[in-house]
Symmetry: C2
Amino acid sequence: MPVQRFKLEYGKKFRLASIDPNETGSEHDREEVEAELKSLKEQLEALQNKLYAGKKQSVLFVIQGMDCSGKDGLVKHALGGLHPQGFKVNSFRAPTEEESAHDFLWRAHQIAPAKGMIGAFIRSYYEDVLITRVHNWISGEEVKSRFKHINRFEKLLESGGVKIVKIFLHISKDFQMARLRNRLTDPTKHWKFDKNDLVERESWAEYEEAYEAVFKHCSSESAPWYIVPANHRWYRDWAVLQIAVEALESMNLAFPESDPELDLILEKLQE
Amino acid sequence: MPVQRFKLEYGKKFRLASIDPNETGSEHDREEVEAELKSLKEQLEALQNKLYAGKKQSVLFVIQGMDCSGKDGLVKHALGGLHPQGFKVNSFRAPTEEESAHDFLWRAHQIAPAKGMIGAFIRSYYEDVLITRVHNWISGEEVKSRFKHINRFEKLLESGGVKIVKIFLHISKDFQMARLRNRLTDPTKHWKFDKNDLVERESWAEYEEAYEAVFKHCSSESAPWYIVPANHRWYRDWAVLQIAVEALESMNLAFPESDPELDLILEKLQE
């Protein structure tokens, strides 16, 4: 199973440094992988069709990663083939005043994918144990408490038929700098540049630690984290499509049973 | 301008019967049109990128048509290349209890596209002057009153920077029957079959009249209706892509002005 290599083993100690962000797998070259992308996308679209038709389960992709790790691009290039009617993307930014007036999972709950739907969170409720932790906006006690709330929240979503697929796009610090420079030199990308990314970059090591804590405390058999080497876009897209296809395949999706009356209706129409 | 032919002339009397749903244009054959689709999609995606970057305006596609006219398919095949992060699709079904407890535009207003976004309504608030009218759920007086509310509502959206593009997918009654049969014979499409479509079909002429009234009372220079012959999917997709590209081109979209500080930041990074 090619997907297993990305899946974090539940309960096992893990360091981000143990995975090379430049990895592109040993058995495939770029050309082979790109040829496979089309077929993977078709598989995913066919599975989405069954999910949508069945209206019994849903899927939530939680997409995390450092600034410039390619979260937006992933949604376009790996998941962009999904039927837009059944695919809702939400980006998590700083909470609004209304959102801040509730518990930290309130806004995520409101936009959880309904039955039949695929949702993608670009950033997510995990930010509430990442940026908040790195900047000491919340205490260590509070962080631990939030881990528990997150785990229970994910169980609740699962009880409602949501398959949760958590993806961490793993890039190197050098790769981030190259992307930041690119945003500064290409005038059509200036709007993507955020001065604050340079500030957050100073805390790279602290973010890695915060992520490692998330991986340790918020992984489960049913909602594991996948660590995807993301310095190479083609490999990243291929990896995530593999993960997505396997996730939907595991859900035993099926078209709903046909109404036995349909045959009769058809006969009448053909008279 | 190829798009002009689909655009309803404001204030001019119009009968749906005057347009052939089988039309595929005289100057292009299928092969030429399909070759153009790719380039139109790329143009639309580039325009969407500017819209998203600028965050000053938004676009709303209102997609109407009889049952089986291909509204869902249009969203997938013509608009499916849009970046999912900036594209939100909403299907209008029978209103929920909460929605019914408000005025008929309340639910549409809540999901109007935010600045930078493209929205698509599959069916829309126009259902409230179509199905409701055909079945006499509301009085003729109420219909007229709703036309006015719709016009004022669209002006309000426009005041907030929304470009409204209203598309009617025009199919023939025979075409609908072929699609219905197809849903009955193909087991993977059984779930799409709705017995009620056969009931509504009985009121084909009344629906045409109701639509003609909508075209007459709810068209404006800035938010016109486009009547798209839709018996042929390839032509339908091409027409809508043309309309979409022209609509976004008319908005004078531009990347936001670059922060003059960026040069300095880049210099520092390169030291």
